[in-house]
Symmetry: D2
Subunit: 360 residues, 4 copies
């Protein structure tokens, strides 16, 4: 698998730099006969788009996807789906300051060490603009997954230290989308908005946590050993820029508890086998058990801050650096559709694998 591809059966390969002519990618392995709704893809891109609210980067990108192949008369043909999204509102001059200097906690220094030189404009390939490619892939993955009723939903659980109390209540997608920060509780949402605005005004930035729940995953998805659902999801989620921790099910809290308290007893509910609790987060032995798959994804605060920082430049001189560019004070609200996309990319791969796990 090349570095810019993911997925064994449903493979997304991507390219593009923040300040190059276009982002884009190829989806290979989408089964033939899936209805591809372009408006649905665009809707997810719009949820990720900069400039969608006063809380996000003012970079103005329409992020309009152009499908170049693989879809004929509204359905996937089985051929690879090529797509591009043109970059439009670039201000490369904003990055002259960092042409030689390395921004702290960015990828400037490490790319330079790896490749010997770098496209410094907007972070080049390390830019989070890459994630729009994943949203395109994830939106198509979702359209395949609807054939099995699988439903992935993510929401903002925490911004900085403002967090949603744990609750058994199930949220509706409409409640999530009603909030500028994608937190389904309107009171907590209001506090989170304030926290972001306050960070913005101080030239500071915040991190946070996104929760995911995937409903109706059939029992039996995921493979043993090195393609465990945990491992594949972990891989996909740690591919997202700024993700520093991932938890499944009861996560760290569960690891402080005991086997007697954590084990999920099996029981019959009508004819179905269910578990009394879901500390496992819907995955046992790396394979789905039919319960909701639950994940928490933690993001570090955005590295681009509005104040002078100490750094070093390519010539090995210490410099003090002030970074321009149009950035978010907190990426969590825009990251919600990105997290959903990555989860859907993993699940569609597991769905296809499940079709060939036994002889029929």
């Amino acid at each position: 698998m090349s570095s810019n591809s993911r997925g064994k059966y449903f493979t997304l390969t991507t390219f593009g730099e923040s300040h190059g002519p276009a982002m884009g990618g190829v989806i290979d392995g989408c089964p033939a006969g899936v209805t591809i709704d372009l408006a649905e893809i665009q809707k997810d891109l719009d949820r990720r788009r900069p400039g969608q609210s006063r809380l996000t980067s003012p970079r103005n990108e329409r992020d309009q996807v152009e499908i170049l192949s693989g879809v004929f008369e509204g359905r996937s043909t089985g051929s690879p789906i090529g797509f591009i999204v043109r970059n439009a509102d670039q201000r490369s001059a904003d990055y002259d300051e960092v042409k030689k200097a390395f921004r702290p906690s960015h990828a400037d220094y490490t790319y330079d060490r790896k490749y010997g030189f770098r496209d410094h404009r907007g972070g080049g390939r390390a830019s989070a603009r890459e994630t729009l490619n994943w949203v395109v892939g994830g939106a198509i993955a979702r359209q395949v997954l609807t054939h099995e009723q699988v439903d992935t939903m993510a929401w903002t659980q925490r911004i900085g230290t403002i967090e949603l109390a744990k609750s058994e209540a199930k949220f509706q997608r409409i409640e999530v989308e009603a909030s500028l920060v994608r937190c389904p509780d309107s009171q907590v949402s209001a506090q989170m908005e304030k926290a972001i605005e306050s960070a913005q005004s101080e030239g500071n930035t915040l991190g946070g946590c996104i929760e995911v729940s995937v409903n109706k995953v059939p029992a039996g998805w995921g493979d043993p050993v090195f393609r465990k659902l945990h491992a594949e999801l972990g891989h996909a989620l740690f591919s997202i820029n700024a993700v520093k921790a991932v938890e499944f099910g009861s996560g760290i809290e569960g690891s402080r508890s005991t086997g007697k308290d954590q084990n999920d007893a099996f029981q019959k509910v009508g004819e179905a086998v269910k578990t009394a609790t879901n500390n496992s987060g819907g995955i046992q032995g790396g394979i789905s058990n039919g319960e909701p798959v639950t994940i928490r994804v933690h993001f570090k605060p955005v590295a681009t801050i509005g104040s002078t920082q100490q750094s070093v430049n390519q010539d090995g001189e210490e410099v003090s650096l002030e970074v321009k560019g149009r950035h978010d004070a907190c990426v969590i609200p825009r990251a919600v559709p990105i997290v959903e996309a990555m989860v859907n990319l993993v699940l569609v791969d597991a769905m296809l694998a499940s079709k060939i796990s036994r002889i029929s």
Copy 2:
């Protein structure tokens, strides 16, 4: 990549069930000319071996590795290294009880749903006995990595709720290995031992946390986008049975802080570029920056407990189940070499990738 393989350049493929004739695997892509020290491999296997202390499973396995190919006159030839480890002390009859019933929070149910039937003895392929294959692979990976001075060390940071306070002090491997639970602080170690014994006596089990620090990783290892060092390490670590959370650098705590507090300023130390802090955990943009790579890996409590549990069997009947078999009350001490192995498998792959990232 097949489900039982990992690594693009240095590929480990494994097989084996807990109660089959043997475990084993193939390492493909080990460069020619590496000195292969069998005693070093065996030493790591001994650190993972059941029966190594009163705190671990009494299953008595010598776990002696036999190398079948790829090594000639003490050096790797570039050909695949095949190996097996015979299973010896099996008591398959212990598992008659679970032939039909599904152990809660085990892989019995999910394997059954995926494959239609299962080898029920000792968990079959889902058994943690598989991890000895990884330890063999990791031990060989380590022998390659010594060519670049890379040094991976893991230790027990927490068992249940007993934990090592965060400290800047660097531990020595000898301090870790002096402890039955692999915790380098002798006082905390003693408390942890007690906690495990107490759980044992109650038929209960504990989880915990293992910390890792990798020193001397050169700047520039790891690839962008879908082979980020985070993503590859996350994948490898979530492949370990019972791992439910993984954190890099300042992890969840860092995600509650702000960009101003978290950014790692660059500075010169002599001629070297270093960072003033290491909240990034040695990885920026998915690529190593030359600082120690720091990781925390959280394990759920062992699912096999010594008390009667409610469950369901293959025929869809509710049953109450008491599981025999010889199990650990806490896997953390034995998991330390497993975590090291997985980290080394990822790093050797990144090391090889780094050799072809630019034209020379």
Copy 3:
């Protein structure tokens, strides 16, 4: 590896249908720091372009490549190189006839059976227009290979039954390109042109053979067992539409001879180890031995002929079919750069593999 990708280290992933908006692809794994000369890529595309002479399809395509990423200030950055080539001169209406009917010896029937339906216009994904993506990839591969002086040259050895006598004479690229059919012998070339024109006038088509010689491949490229240079080249060449046979070195003729006559004795030439003969075609045990790599690639006659044929349609009815569309009576001349591209794609992968085959 997905179906539309090839190469482990230098991976080309492609998309596009003959009558869709664009062809395109992603090259992942090109080392950083390689000078990328766009004019060189375009020159290879022009050698493959329809409409380049009276002997080729009159479809008029400029086949202008647009590089979308991965190149900065004239050099590869190590990031994936995305590219597209817009389709322009399509006449989809020409294909109304085959919307339902299956063209004999084309992919219409097999795609229909595989996917349940198909994009019938111009052969969809099965169109040889796909090969322009390979020419782009191969042209970039060649620019990497020049760092090791490797030089791949192909020419037309046979069209129908008109063939170039075997000769030890080495051809110059300029002699090949001086010929409309890319045969370096001007007399044979003239005969071949006549043969194609004669087939054209009869609504018939011809096949033929392309020879390849790769000079200055260092000894030690290629991997044992399943990545033998033979196997990788065979795979790449049999991926080309209409290729029905591939021979290495003395090929079929050599297989009729004996070991005593075929073995290539080693000898010293100055300080270099050379072979007295090159029946092995530069590859022994799947690995290059430093002699020229020699290959013969045989193409069946073009399946689109200018006469009425018996066939069957989607509804299972027998039909008689007359195919329109603008087609070549012989693809050999345009296939020469395609063969070179495939060989270069394989060799650049072997070159990168060779950098990590032993510990330094």
Copy 4:
């Protein structure tokens, strides 16, 4: 994909050197629930075994396979199938002569150049003993393929210049196996035996050709572009030691003909769509069309000959070399089951791919 693995869905990974302790491998991706008949595997190994007749190498190996995992109560479990075959009758001292010198047309020189040193005993990893691993994999692949009635049969078509006339007659497997050289025509078989004995007595060796016909491959197997059935079969067959040419369908002869003569017209035979001729060899556009898949595989003469040859040694000195060791004067008869194995490995992969090519 690592160098010692093949197959995307049904992946065979192998290891072992001729004079090491054992050969072996791992089959990953065999669907659960397939009946695994060990006797069938052993039967194929016996067809490949040295010492099976006076015409083959007298090395005496029982080649008994031991399955180590993945099979439970006679059926595949979906877990990887590990296996080993111990090496027994080694005479490493036979190879002292070639410890430093390079045997002409063998892999000695190229391995040395690639890896810097080599296991010289019996050719090490380059030994054709590796092919027994493929026979194990292929025998299991065949047991999966019987679920779809697919039937692969190969036979000796030519040894040196003695060849079976082309015939439309279908052979029975029993006729093939009745012949010491696996040629189904008893008169031609007798001539072939004589040719081999004559070569043996002169210390010379012969090559030849194996034909394959695969019956009942359903239409729609194989993938476009880089996983065409041609390409995958070509790859697998060129992986076999000594294979120098591969032809599909009417092959080179067909490439000398015209489109009008070569096109395979579609017709109805009852309800089925069939082709009037099968010049395409059962594959169109890289995908099976339901007709028999027909292939010809040409082998060079064995490189180990019984006479003194000129060569060079590791120190760069010219030497004259006489090779001992027990070798076949012609490998064709023993290669028949190897060719079948490789074809079956490719087909089982295509069969699994076909299950996920469209949404159901």
